[in-house]
Amino acid sequence: MHFAVPIFPGSNCDRDTIHAIEDVLDQPVTAVWHQDSDLKKFDAIIIPGGFSYGDYLRTGALAAQSPIMEGIREAADQGKLVLGICNGFQILLETGLLPGAMRRNDHLQFRCSISRLSVENTQTPFTLGFSQGEQIRIPIAHIEGNYYCDEETLQELQQKGQIIFRYAGENPNGSIDYIAGICNERRNVLGMMPHPERAIFDWMGSTDGVKLFTSMLQYWKENNGAA
């Protein structure tokens, strides 16, 4: 399974994400500069966290205009897996691949901590290794993670099982319905504020991110018959 990790000016979790793919999955991964739009040879794309374009204008807004987004859109259309983490989630919202928008955290401060999440839907390529309602611990680090959408969209997300992760206990940013991560209707595009790449070894304080990566690989193997 060949992963692409797009790099925008200001991305800063790109190396962590690449390392996680190598360490957890031992699969090939390539850093792709944002000006390349051809992602045909890749099986999955993980848009890393960071401050693309310094968060100028709005988080993710400028990155959403990069040439590479064409390739990402194409991959999503083909049913390939696209995961956006933190700033990656913000970029997916700005491109319209996922519905809704991000606002500044309700307390207005940056927040970095290990958050407790509940896995709300395991019928997705990203969560098939988790059990329904499983409580996991994954770090967050953002100032704009206050997910928002209108009532109609929220109902749709709820009814179609597109809410994948919710904050369990404290909501660290004020997001609507405690949302921490959502997917598209087809369930091949996931955006999440928490950083699974920061929870893969015991010494990091949690290994709950591992199953997210292994789920992706398992899904891909099942659907591509490759070993």
Partner: protein, 761 residues
């Protein structure tokens, strides 16, 4: 470049004669005798541009003219030291062809007038110092001082904005801010301290230096364009703060971490092309002037710069402004002639401005050209090596003599130990710093093995089993009461913090924050602190590989407490040795290494109860200190230990509380002592470490301590019931639930900040 021999003075600027007649050099912070020296070096009167260049190069910030003779005492060598003081940052070998690079620097004055940008650019500057060495930054730390948090809205504003500024810069750069310390004390009311430290990692063959080499080689400017911000920042930093300081806001730079992130990645690409860079230096304090002059001087060459080629963001800038601007996110490079296009290509990829602005020349002339005219022509070495050097008069302050007869123990005996515990646990100085560090991304780079909140932070090194421990530390109260002891303690405690995580201390960087050296009492403090620090460095084998001096930290003639801050880095050889302070398991035996004496002078309890500090601080016996550290490191590496925690401010009571709070477990302690219960629990005697060890390993440790001649006291055991129970000489003196202590510990700072607009806690 056409050479014109005569230096011209520009219209709209004071003429050389006016400068002399109206003593305008004083406006630039130069003394009369310094002005005379400049005339001597130039063999003519300096122009306004030249005078500006001398004034920043000879400022305390760049030349260390008041501290240089004292700083010579610091041991700077060691078998592992690859680069000591003098470059952007110090470099220490950590094996496997890898090295750790680190430095701490102050940004006090800018933060006093513009806290958000002042703190942000302090972080930005120290990051550039580290990556200009060829290292990728892997961690940030800081050390902060503010006035009394509870009584002053101004202090709350400064604190909130400084934290936000640090977060803004470090988070965007993707460098985890993993550690630090903050102290609130009225002595910093008008003059807060913001010291930022950066740690980087490199392979030996990637090490870069700020040196210009090879006649005719191009000098290349990379990064943000030059504006009028930060002009004379270095001079501003070398003056006392006063009512007019607000007007110095233009001397505060404005940071753009996004730009610096691009600059970092571009520089890392250049470093990867092993032989491309001949020299690289950050344009930090004193901007283009300092970087270009130092690079040329270190290489033993001269330099010609054409200021028309310097990328600018504003029109009509004069040579004076261009040379003295401290616009951020700029780097100066020297490469071999003919390789300019390789630099250009990398800069283009990252969308960075770059320009060849001059050439390395033969000889010793530092020449600046502007609009075809020669506007400065200075013998280079006089800027860098001939800066004045002062040894100031010293005087033992009256307070020091008066303190001789003070007995702090007597002042405090009326305090009930349980009440004392509540006071220290909820003191903003000792309480949880979560409110701060949760605003810092302390986990980016996915290497943080010990997060903020323990004795020292630990960063794992990918691809190896090694890890680095790091800590910033400095107790100014002790230094105030006794500079030599305080200096020793600053170094010893930082080392102890690092040892408690399972690391061997490698070396340190220091930031010396003091008042005006021209005051004999302040100079006495400075001299004593440096002496004490040097002694500790010598004994603990921790060389000083870089640092910074920040003097003139005064408002209204009142100096801050003398505040040397130590940034210590240690090496953990295997991740399985990583140790934290939290109690891990009920039934574990609690041991105390080291001796407890009646030492409450300068203690947190004294300050909380009496509102001031007096007496003598704890005494630090370096030999004892070294042995205690050896025992703990040995025990951790042999797997005898479940937790290790330094005893510091708040003494045994505070350390026990912290180990309980962190582990969510209780402690049952029974001790016998000749001291009063209060003194025993709150004394801040040095060289003590609290350990918890599995019951069946305790004898190993006790035997080991005995062999080494270290006192080891069996205090009690970790208990499942989350309660802190302390019995001294048969009498129960503390019985408190850990939940209650946790609540006090966690709520202290959020409560103090609740009047603030942006706090939700």
């Amino acid at each position: 470049m056409q050479l014109k021999q005569k230096v011209i003075s520009l219209p709209n600027e004071p003429t050389p004669e006016m400068i002399r007649e109206q003593t305008l050099y004083k406006e630039l912070g130069l003394k009369s005798e310094e002005y005379e020296q400049i005339i001597h070096h130039l063999k003519r009167l300096p122009t306004w541009t030249e005078l500006g260049i001398y004034s920043v190069m000879w400022s305390e910030h760049c030349s260390y003219k008041n501290s240089k003779t004292l700083l010579k005492q610091f041991p700077t060598q060691g078998s592992r030291v690859l680069q000591g003081p003098g470059e952007g940052a110090g470099v220490i070998d950590i094996g496997d062809e890898q090295a750790v690079v680190f430095k701490i620097e102050s940004h006090n004055h800018p933060s006093a007038v513009e806290p958000f940008q002042g703190a942000a650019t302090g972080v930005g500057g120290i990051i550039r110092d580290v990556f200009s060495m060829g290292a990728r930054p892997i961690a940030l730390l800081n050390s902060l001082r503010f006035g009394d948090l509870k009584s002053s809205a101004r202090v709350r504003y400064l604190f909130e904005q400084v934290v936000a500024g640090i977060a803004h810069y470090g988070n965007c750069m993707g460098i985890p801010t993993v550690g630090g310390e903050v102290v609130f004390d009225p002595s910093y009311e008008g003059n807060p301290l913001v010291n930022a430290m950066c740690v980087g990692l490199l392979k030996h063959d990637e090490l870069q230096k700020g040196v210009a080499q090879g006649v005719g080689n191009p000098v290349i400017y990379v990064g943000a364009r030059t504006g009028r911000d930060g002009i004379h920042g270095a001079t501003f930093a070398s003056e006392e703060l006063n009512e007019t300081s607000e007007s110095k806001r233009p001397a505060v730079q404005v940071g753009d971490p996004f730009m610096e992130k691009l600059l970092l990645e571009a520089c890392m690409e250049m470093v990867e092309q092993k032989d491309l860079l001949l020299g690289i230096q950050d344009m930090g304090a004193a901007g283009l002037t300092c970087s270009s002059a130092e690079m040329a001087a270190k290489g033993g060459y001269g330099m010609d710069l054409n200021l028309d080629l310097v990328p600018r963001r504003e029109q009509g800038m004069t040579p004076y402004e261009i040379m003295l601007s401290e616009s951020q996110e700029r780097m100066l490079l020297v490469v071999e002639q003919g390789r300019e296009s390789e630099v250009q290509a990398i800069c283009d990829k990252w969308g960075l401005t770059s320009a060849v602005i001059g050439r390395v020349s033969e000889g010793d002339r530092y020449r600046l050209f502007f609009q075809g005219e020669l506007v400065a022509d200075i013998p280079l070495r006089t800027l860098v090596d001939a800066a004045p050097c002062y040894v100031q008069a010293q005087k033992v302050p009256d307070y020091y003599r008066e303190n001789e007869s003070v007995c702090p123990e007597e002042q405090l005996q009326h305090i009930d130990p349980q009440v004392g515990l509540h006071q220290v646990v909820s003191s903003v100085n000792l309480a949880s710093k979560r409110w701060i560090y949760q605003q810092y991304d302390h986990m980016v780079q996915a290497s943080t093995a010990v997060c903020p909140g323990s004795d020292a932070a630990v960063i794992a090194i990918r691809g190896t089993d090694k890890a680095l421990a790091m800590s910033t530390d400095g107790n100014a109260r002790y230094v105030y009461l006794d500079p030599v002891q305080g200096g020793r303690i600053a170094v010893a405690e930082a080392a102890r913090n690092v040892v408690c995580t399972g690391a061997e201390p490698l070396g340190l960087t220091d930031c010396l924050n003091f008042g005006s050296p021209e005051k004999p009492e302040v100079y006495w403090q400075l001299a004593g602190a440096i002496q004490g620090m040097s002694e500790a460095c010598q004994e603990l084998n921790t060389p000083v590989v870089g640092g910074n001096v920040s003097l003139y930290n005064e408002t209204k003639g009142q100096a801050i407490y003398p505040t040397p801050v130590v940034g210590m880095v240690g090496l953990i050889t295997s991740r399985k040795h990583i140790m934290t302070q939290s109690f891990k398991q009920a039934g574990d035996v609690i041991l105390l290494l080291g001796e407890t004496l009646a030492e409450l002078g300068g203690s947190e309890l004294q300050s909380l109860v009496t509102g001031k500090i007096s007496g003598r601080p704890p005494v630090l016996d370096l030999e004892k200190e070294k042995k205690v550290q050896q025992v703990v490191l040995h025990a951790i590496r042999h797997g005898f230990v479940h937790s290790a925690h330094d005893l510091a401010e708040g003494g045994l009571a505070m350390s026990l509380a912290e180990s309980c709070i962190a582990g969510g477990l209780g402690a049952n302690v029974t001790a016998k002592t000749q001291l009063s219960a209060l003194t025993y629990l709150f004394s801040e005697s040095q060289s003590r470490i609290l350990l918890s060890v599995p019951e069946n390993q305790a004898w190993h440790l006790i035997a080991l301590a005995e062999d080494m001649g270290v006192k080891c006291t069996h205090l009690g055991e970790v208990i499942e019931v989350p309660e802190m129970r302390i019995c001294i000489n048969g009498e129960s003196v503390i019985h408190e639930s850990v939940q209650e202590l946790t609540r006090k510990y966690e709520e202290a700072i959020p409560c103090a900040m609740s009047p603030s607009l942006t706090s939700t806690n």
